[in-house]
Symmetry: C2
Subunit: 402 residues, 2 copies
Amino acid sequence: MERGRGALGPALELVHTGRAPTRAVLTAELGVTRATAGAVAAELEALGLIQVDARPAAAAGSQGRPSHRLSVAPNGPVVLAAQIHADGFRASLVGLGGRTVATAPGCMTVPADPSHIIDAVVAAGAGLLRGTGRRCLGAGLAVPSAVAEPEGTALNPLHLSWPAGAPVRELFTESLAKAGVTGPGGAPLAGVAGNDVNLAALAEYRHGAGRGARHLLCVATGHRGVGGALVLDGRLHSGSSGLALEVGHLTVNPAGLPCHCGSRGCLDVEADPLAFVTAAGREPGPAVSLLQQSRDLIRSEYADPGVRAAVELLIDRLGLGLAGLVNILNPDRVLLGGLHRELLEADPERLRAVVADRSLWGRSGSVPILACTLDHGSLIGAAEAAWQPVLDDPLAVLGCGS
Amino acid sequence: MERGRGALGPALELVHTGRAPTRAVLTAELGVTRATAGAVAAELEALGLIQVDARPAAAAGSQGRPSHRLSVAPNGPVVLAAQIHADGFRASLVGLGGRTVATAPGCMTVPADPSHIIDAVVAAGAGLLRGTGRRCLGAGLAVPSAVAEPEGTALNPLHLSWPAGAPVRELFTESLAKAGVTGPGGAPLAGVAGNDVNLAALAEYRHGAGRGARHLLCVATGHRGVGGALVLDGRLHSGSSGLALEVGHLTVNPAGLPCHCGSRGCLDVEADPLAFVTAAGREPGPAVSLLQQSRDLIRSEYADPGVRAAVELLIDRLGLGLAGLVNILNPDRVLLGGLHRELLEADPERLRAVVADRSLWGRSGSVPILACTLDHGSLIGAAEAAWQPVLDDPLAVLGCGS
DNA sequence: GTATTTTGTTCAGCGTCGGCACAAAGTCAG
DNA sequence: CTGACTTTGTGCCGACGCTGAACAAAATAC
């Protein structure tokens, strides 16, 4: 409680994202003196958040005294991360560094009443907490819908049969209280809720293929429709009311299918798994298995000319949409998830060529397009959102006394 | 040089934008004690940047001791602001608060060699500086082209006959040195260059219709093509390489005109003055007078059914483009400039209805759409960009000794 | 004219960080 | 194996920048 209180948050974030493996690097990254960095590390260790290994692993080739290694505390506090998708839910405890400590998947048909499934996923998370006995510092929930801020309501839970405007954050917070999940000192825990693609983008930025990007654009499709997200200088850009990056209604096929938005040829209906299966000339299965059906087609039947043509068609449409987004947002990296990831991996050159051709500047055209790398990215992202208050100011969350 | 050095920049910005008319308000806005706010104000006054009037104007109805009024120093330092457009240039000296101190317009055909006109506009500005004898702290240049960062090159100076990739920032800085324009202590001055719509958006955010917005979207059209800009939390978002908000190639008319980008029906060719004049069934005049021709048509011949139909057609196309941008960016305010401003004022309800109808969420649909209010917004914006280093850290620019 | 309210100023105190000196722990050269 | 060198960790002091409290000033309210 003497030195380095102002830099506590940034320092924790550096260790959390693995960008400060040693005290020396921490010193350089924070731009402070060794004395301050040392005090900061000591404080974070005292708070039980990080670990300092005096015994260095292997100082390969470097002269001088070896650095102490900084790492996330292996038995430190966790956050409760929850995810709801069309065919079930998933709850995890996630520590710093994006490390999943325990997981409880659950499959079911999602009930029309959001509070039921939120209670179920929270109960699963509470069970994990009891089982492991870890301290819980926050809770995050990912839902397949835009979440309006500051209300915390799910505006378009399309593939869930929920009513539009369901107050998911409020339900989540109430559910946490009912399940007895509390924060430090038994205080009630305020849950955070967000769109699954947004949260996945945040997770990729911190721990996945988005590390080191300044402006990260993420586009993904799960079962139906297309979602987008943008991370600007490390912060999720969700717009003035949480509704940014609703990219599904960019026009990518002027002569295309009518969309429920009133226009034709929107990305939502032209570049999602249903569009792919249809373009490949196959009979679409049930909605929740469309992504798997598409994956199977690409991986097992790519030799089929119909499948191949469908891949190329969807790449062209997706590329048009991405080019539009690149022109507007000028990101320095683009990540693709869900079916879009499969399309990228099936023919990376074609997609990159379309984007380069249609985004005006050769420079932006050469923006790297990569695949998302995290499993359950939106779950990790929900955890990241829950960690955010701790990363912003550890002392405010943990209290000076504890 | 004792108290309040950290809060110096934020305090200056508050006075600069008129959000801190008194010491008491400054105290509240900065979230510091009266002692600190007083010291900060004293320091800024000592630096010659602001003025403290002990004699209050008229404390209407309020109890207690009247506040001292804070205002921008009337004879304080200025920055050199320059703007180049299709039919000439304009140079001004602009003080804090966006106050234009002196102006030198110049009309000519813009030469194909950018350095000639940049030298001319800088010479005009240098003349103003000699004439007024004011200290100059920075210089900014607005050009009708995307400016790539960090190179400072004009990538698509479409209506100028410049080569693509002209190094405008470098030319500007060299020209300043040649003209003998120097910063504090005779140090060489680093010029900043930016896209005119971007800079106009910044000016509107600070001093115009954008004041108080969190996420401000600005769309404007001058003679040809459509430009956009985004201000996020007070900072211009120009993307990872300065190329963001190139909004001209959103598709707004699937069956529309071919565009040089290879697509059809782009905003650039469907919602600019040429498109309007053509849609109204008139013979387009020379490129540099298209905006004026459009204005005249709307203001004088709105009764003509052809003109009216053209207004409605362009409103519908513009609305489609704006709706797409609102879905992606979720701003809390939209400003329109150039011909788009005229369209808004001709039929505000129609434009708002189109945007509300096509942007998915009723809430975003009700985003306020307003007209730009500043004359020569991009010139003021060039000045704002030039002021930025002073607003960020006044002491670093002015030096502790002076 | 006195009380109240609000604002500006002075001064002491303290927390936080930089700078420096020194100790510690390794590599490298002979 | 020893000594020089390099790099990292730590303790101490001072400076800087802010808070808090007391006090003074300038208006309104009664």
